[in-house]
């Protein structure tokens, strides 16, 4: 039998993409234990077998569904969309509550308990206990569950509460990611088949979406995907309900001419014209409130609204506290301040409202950045004081992401080559964290834009890119897409690298099953003997020139190596007589290589114990780990003084190779193993 989690898991396994899923990655993704995932996979296996497919688990390609995936997906969708509670699916109590509430809210008239029990396939007793939970939940929206003797139960209360409940229940059923994706798909194809999801009818939905787009273009309102989707839902339900004669009650319009109100009025006018439904003036207020709560989109097109001075001031105060705790400069980081200000602006409105803020990444953030989380927690006191509201953990998690982004930014320089667009539909913090993580973890990547799913089309039209990295599902586009967690776990990084450079240098090694060996990286043409150098700089430059001559690095890489020694010291003299100069991948590395220069006359580098140096190995690395194997082999060679002496006095390259690769037959094993 399927249930909510298993359906999510199955959907994920069926989703196109070439990421490798393991029990561990799936457990992390769904936030449950590995044991539960194994159990779920067994149940999913039973289910897909009946559809003529199977769950395959092999060590190379991970866990996947073998068979006609499209058919399985179609079957799954038909199970999910049948309006009768499905036979192949166990509803969780929460899903049952959702189903009951949605039915009651839409019906208006009393529904007999027996009908509910029949439809859901559970006992009347279960329904009675469900109704307790339902009543409590409805209470959150100011609604009452009323029992009418002989007629059943019904919901009563203000229309605004009913709307809020309908939106929240719909979001709960479909999930935010799925809704954003659905909106993107509807917009792309102009087909509005929403029945399976129990959303407002297609025409209402379409009018709502078009109205929001029109207003967005006109007023520069830039909502994050998540808030845009929620606004579409609200507006669509509003049209739907007004058509049924259910008007929102509201005590007239306020005197204020705040931008939210102007925008909300525009929206109502637009949706009126687009849907042909006359909307009463009372519909403006709920929309204005929504816009006030909404987060603004971080947008490639530079459509961000100016921040309020309050938010910037608060961001600076938050930065000042965090700065003193973390001993880094944050106030000078304008990206940090503006990103944070953008994020802070709507929070007090959100904190004052139910439902509470959720942060699906909270646990992972806490685990990954414990110090930053603690600092964010402490610095949040500034915000609590200003707002007079407690800041919940979930929010501290988002603040931590901003800090994480700022610190990660420090670790990176100017990457280039592969052009990547990052797509993030949830919000500013997530987007910025993803961006920073990408740049820090993949220096070989140039991040050309960070955008939301709904602006992706526009971004791709205006800039060239090799790969789209997204934290949410993306509808089919011409550019390859990799879906990742914004925290970029190891598996995510692998997926991105694989997508970027299937034919790349490092990857040709990875495909053959093991990483580049020293024999792959330090080849004959990278060895120079008897080189004359007057001082340490000349020696480093000589080894660098060999890399340049072999096309492994750009000339500026050599300058960066010299600069590194000047800045930090002769620490690159790693062992007596041996120097290992290097710089960073983004300093102009084209491919992984190590050159070796034997100096005719040893030179001093200014190292206390390891001078003078007679061997210089210049290293050019393309990322943080592909050169590990080769480096470990080199390290074990130079840890042996005898080897160093032989290399220092070698008369020809053959002699060098004999030391470096003593057993030529087992060349791939390298010299000394690891």
């Amino acid at each position: 039998m399927l249930n909510q989690r298993r359906v999510a898991l199955l959907r994920f396994l069926l989703a196109p993409g070439d990421r490798v899923n393991t029990v561990a990655t799936l457990a992390a993704r769904l936030g449950v234990s590995e044991r539960l995932i194994r159990y779920d996979l067994a149940e999913i296996g039973d289910w897909v077998r009946r559809k003529g497919a199977q769950v395959r688990h092999d060590p190379r390609s991970g866990i996947c569904i073998d068979g006609d995936c499209e058919r399985v997906l179609a079957d799954l969708e038909s199970v999910m969309r049948s309006d009768k509670p499905p036979a192949e699916y166990i509803l969780t109590p929460a899903e049952r509550h959702n189903w009951i509430m949605t039915l009651l809210l839409e019906q208006g008239d009393p529904v007999p308990i027996g009908t509910l029990a029949d439809q859901l396939g559970v006992s009347r007793g279960t329904i009675y206990s469900d109704l307790h939970a339902v009543a409590e939940r409805l209470g959150q929206y100011g609604l009452q569950l009323t029992k009418r003797p002989k007629r059943g139960v019904c919901v009563s209360g203000p229309e605004t509460g009913i709307r809020e409940a309908l939106v929240a229940l719909a979001l709960e059923r479909i999930g935010m990611d799925q809704l954003v994706l659905l909106i993107a798909q509807c917009e792309q194809t102009d087909r509005w088949e929403l029945e399976p999801y129990d959303l407002p009818p297609g025409p209402c939905f379409r009018a709502a979406l078009r109205a929001l787009r029109a207003v967005e273009d006109y007023s520069g309102l830039g909502l994050t995907d998540v808030w845009f989707a929620e606004a579409v839902l609200h507006l669509a339900f509003a049209v739907h309900r007004v058509r049924q004669g259910k008007h929102a009650e509201f005590p007239g319009l306020p005197a204020t001419d705040a931008p939210e109100w102007r925008t909300a009025r525009l929206l109502v006018e637009q949706v009126e014209a687009l849907s042909g439904t006359s909307m009463p003036a009372s519909e403006v207020a709920p929309l204005a409130e929504l816009i006030q709560k909404a987060g603004r989109r971080v947008c490639a097109a530079g459509r961000e609204l100016p921040h309020s001075p309050d938010a910037v001031y608060l961001a600076r105060r938050f930065a000042a506290v965090a700065e003193s705790l973390l001993a880094v400069d944050l106030a000078g980081d304008s990206d940090f301040i503006s990103g944070l200000a953008l994020h802070l602006q709507p929070i007090p409105h959100r904190l004052a409202q139910s439902p509470p803020i959720v942060n699906p990444l909270l646990e992972q953030i806490r685990e990954m950045y414990p110090e930053l989380f603690a600092a964010a927690r402490q610095a949040a006191a500034v915000l609590e004081e200003a707002w007079g509201l407690p800041v919940p953990e979930a929010e501290v998690g988002y603040l931590t992401m901003h800090l994480g982004a700022a610190l990660e930014r420090r670790r990176l320089a100017r990457p280039r080559r592969h052009r990547v667009v990052a797509v993030c539909s949830s919000g500013v913090g997530t987007a910025r964290l993803l961006a920073s993580r990408l740049q820090a973890a993949l220096p070989e990547v140039e991040l050309v834009a960070v955008t939301s799913l709904l602006s992706l089309g526009e971004t791709l039209r205006t800039c060239e890119c090799d790969l789209v990295v997204a934290t949410c599902p993306v509808p089919e586009i011409a550019t390859p897409v990799v879906q990742v967690s914004p925290l970029l776990f190891a598996g995510d990084l692998r997926a991105i690298r694989d997508a970027l450079a299937p034919e790349g240098y490092v990857h040709s090694f990875q495909r053959r099953g093991y990483p580049p060996m020293l024999s792959d990286v330090l080849t004959e043409q990278l060895i120079r003997l008897g080189v004359e150098a007057a001082d340490w700089e000349a020696a480093v430059r000589a080894a660098g020139r060999v890399l340049v001559d072999n096309g492994a690095v750009e000339p500026r890489y050599v300058d960066a190596m010299v600069e590194g020694v000047r800045r930090v010291g002769p620490y690159i003299v790693v062992a007596p007589g041996v120097a290992l100069p290097h710089a960073r991948p983004e300093d102009g590395v084209r491919r992984l290589a190590i050159s070796m220069v034997q100096l005719r006359d040893p030179v001093a580098f200014g190292h206390e114990t390891n001078d003078p140096v007679s061997l210089v190995f210049a290293l050019a690395a393309v990322d943080v780990d592909s050169h590990l194997k080769a480096l470990s082999q080199l390290s074990s060679i130079i840890s042996n003084p005898e080897h160093v002496a032989r290399l220092g006095s070698a008369q020809d390259v053959a002699e060098v190779l004999k030391v470096v690769f003593p057993n030529t037959a087992g060349k791939e094993e390298g010299a000394c193993g690891s």
């Binding site: 110090e371 610190l407 670790r411 620490y571 290097h582 960073r584 943080v624």
Partner: protein, 93 residues
């Protein structure tokens, strides 16, 4: 316990050092998290022990961790002799 090797760039020297540390810890069955950082990103991070080439001493003066300085990064005996007493001391605390 988090043991971090540090160099100027984070791509070469510190990796060698980290591999040496890993070997030593593994041989002794000591469990610790090891990482290789460059100077810039080490700031604001936390570690219990920092292992670095001796020439970086002046950059690590204020670093809030026990600092172990090494002359020959590839010499397991040297790294072991300097690192292990500190590890044991911290473990006994």
């Amino acid at each position: 316990m988090r043991i971090v090797s540090i160099c100027g760039m984070g791509f070469g020297t510190s990796l060698i050092l980290r591999m040496t540390i890993d070997e030593i810890l593994k041989a002794r069955g000591i469990k610790a998290e090891t990482m290789a950082w460059d100077l810039g990103s080490a700031k604001g991070q936390q570690a219990d022990i920092v292992v670095a080439p001796r020439d970086m001493e002046r950059h690590l003066k204020d670093f809030p961790a026990r600092v172990v300085l090494v002359d020959n990064l590839t010499n397991k005996q040297e790294v072991e002799a300097k690192l292990i007493p500190v590890v044991e001391e911290l473990m006994n605390q």
